[in-house]
Amino acid sequence: MSFRYKTTFPSDDDIADPSDWVDSNAELAGEFNGGMDRDNLPESAVDGTHISDGTVAEVFSDPLFTASVNLPTKTTEWVDGDGTTVIGRVAPTIDVDSVLDIVWSGTWNWNIGGGYPLAGESELLAIRLVVDGVEVARSPVHSDSRDYDSTTLYGNTVVGPGSPVVTVEFRTYRASGNGRAERTVSIDYGELIVEVLKR
């Protein structure tokens, strides 16, 4: 709370008592040594130069920089890559309750080549954002009617102190195959971005 100076006013002819001086200073020092707060600071007194880096927010990202990643075919489970390369994974260390603002945008390619599938075949791709195994966003299924296509997913969640693991996961579906072997879809470009907004 805001400090109020202990107003002891000795009067003429009082016996000089050092506690009148010392006690008020001790109380003031007690506030000054770690007890100052909002009432001691005027409006808008604090700006970015007064706040340590990472106090309000931190940003983490995992871009798919160098090469395409082929998703495994005949997938029945959600996967985060090809078994070797993880397409997007962020595990920030967080010291206070926070909100995670998560976004992944990227491009994939069904490797059809001609630009459209043959009659009677259809394959689908779904993408989701996961925090510690809990899904926070899922795309609609995207068909291979476009050889190349892109999407963006947004998700957010509240987390406590710790190291939550944020991943982007993929799952392929075959709606109809018409006797043809399952296609390999590759994730060509993309970036997972996690903004940690601290309480």
């Binding site: 008592d17 050092p18 506690s19 001086w21 010392v22 200073n25 001790a26 003031l28 020092a29 000054f32 040594n33 770690g34 007890g35 100052m36 707060d37 909002r38 600071l41 005027p42 409006e43 808008s44 007194a45 604090v46 700006d47 970015g48 706040i51 340590s52 880096d53 990472g54 309000v56 927010a57 931190e58 940003v59 990202s61 871009p63 798919l64 920089f65 160098t66 976004v103 945008s105 990227g106 491009t107 390619n109 080549g113 001609g114 630009g115 459209y116 009617s145 476009r146 050889d147 190349y148 296509d149 892109s150 963006t152 060509d188 470009y189 993309g190 970036e191 971005i193 903004e195």
Partner: protein, 205 residues
């Protein structure tokens, strides 16, 4: 940490100025080095914090918004146009104590170069972000990861929307920071861009 040490004065002590002066000296030193340790935990209120301390609201040339539509036809990478070049800046950006996330969204319609039917090659529409920080500007591709693609051909009506969200990871300290969208098409196709937006989100660390 800035701490004041109270020098006790007891009844019966010699009447000298040395102990009060010792305490005043402690105040003198401490008040010159006030820091976060002097503030109680959770003691700062929103009203104490100046506007734009935690994040920055982009205004003016920091934001691109245009309905378009504009037909783009580029066999090689060129700035995308939607009523005007899709470009923002000059921004002031210092990556040592700020983070910038770029948001770019637009609606697109792909046009094949002819309508001769099935068997024609596919048309790939590609987009990516670039930045410049030297005032010239000399453009650099932000990262391979900002590239986005879609495609079509005569059998597919190419119409959709696209978002590119990218974190600026380059080390930058400039008052001439610019970002723009580039695009190209294969096989002589066109792409019409409509309802385009490009803006930064600047987070103060």
């Amino acid at each position: 940490m800035s701490r004041v040490t109270v020098t006790p004065i007891d009844v019966g002590d010699d009447v000298t100025i040395s102990k009060p002066n010792t305490m005043l000296a402690s105040w003198d030193v401490a008040t010159a080095v006030i820091d976060g340790e002097n503030i109680r935990l959770g003691g700062i209120h929103q009203r104490n914090i100046a506007a734009d301390t935690a994040s920055e609201t982009p205004t003016g040339t920091d934001v691109f918004e245009n309905v378009g539509p504009t037909t783009n036809s580029n066999a090689a990478w060129a700035v995308a146009v939607c009523g005007a070049n899709i470009e923002i800046g000059d921004l002031t950006y210092n990556s040592s104590n700020e983070e910038m996330i770029i948001y770019c969204s637009f609606e697109y319609e792909g046009e094949a170069s002819d309508n001769t039917g099935a068997g024609d090659p596919q048309y790939i529409f590609e987009f990516r972000l670039q930045y410049a920080d030297d005032g010239v500007p000399t453009w650099n591709t932000i990262a391979r990861s900002t590239r986005r693609e879609s495609n079509g051909n005569e059998l597919i009506i190419m119409h959709g929307s696209m978002d590119i969200v990218a974190r600026v990871t380059e080390s930058v300290n400039s008052s001439n920071f610019r970002v723009r969208l580039q695009q190209q098409e294969t096989n002589g196709a066109n792409v019409i861009l409509t309802n385009c937006a490009l803006f930064p989100r600047v987070v103060k660390l």
